[in-house]
């Protein structure tokens, strides 16, 4: 009975990790890839850790698995936010079929301050239209 539960959990976790890897290859945009990393992989790793905690049926292993799950759940959104912010300032282009960019004209390039209303002073906005630094050209 316990092994059936373990098989179900481990299969679901592996499936989610495989989906995250496929999305990592197939997604057309950096920001969509960040979304893949922070959702699907976190769920998959959590399921794998829960299955290992069920298999050992032990206080120390269960506490370790719960601590790792808590840590991953806490740190995945923080790191995704930081990476997304850095890539937005770096001028990584959005997908060309993206519908809207909510931050257009709100982040200031010099001071890195987020304003709540749009001002279109040229030279101070983050530019996403052309490859303006060396990280973009190595395709």
């Amino acid at each position: 009975m316990i092994s059936i539960i373990i098989v179900i959990l481990i299969t679901l976790g592996t499936l989610f990790i495989l989906l995250a890897a496929i999305g990592m290859v197939r997604m057309p945009d950096t920001y969509l890839r960040i979304s893949v990393t922070t959702k699907a992989a976190t769920l998959g790793v959590g399921l794998l850790l829960i299955s290992s905690a069920i298999y050992f049926n032990d206080l120390s292993t269960t506490s370790r698995a719960l601590v790792i799950i808590l840590f991953v759940l806490l740190t995945a959104p923080v790191s995704a936010h930081l990476v997304g912010r850095a890539s937005y300032f770096m001028g990584v282009k959005l997908w060309d079929k993206s519908v809207m960019d909510d931050l257009r004209g709100k982040y200031q390039k010099k001071t890195h301050v987020l304003k709540s209303k749009i001002d279109n002073t040229p030279g101070d906005n983050v530019v996403h239209d052309r490859p303006d630094n060396e990280n973009e050209v190595e395709d």
Partner: protein
Amino acid sequence: MTLNDYIYYVILPVLAFSILLIFYRFFKGPSIVDKIIALDLLITTGIGIIAVYSIVHGRSTFMDTAMILALIAFLSTVAFSYFIEKRNRKK
């Protein structure tokens, strides 16, 4: 088919294949941010593989390594993004 056989012949190859897919993005990735994300996902998948390996071998001591790996993944991502942002601010 026992649990160990299932894990050994089905689960671990699928995880290894997903590691290969993430490595493809890690080497190809157009910008440096893609490489950072791929590295983060690589370490996260590594945590999952360590959990599965601890089931296969029946040793729960491997979970300590997984905890340290989770910590290192968070720290490296934060450090990389901080320095990228700082470099672009100076320009």
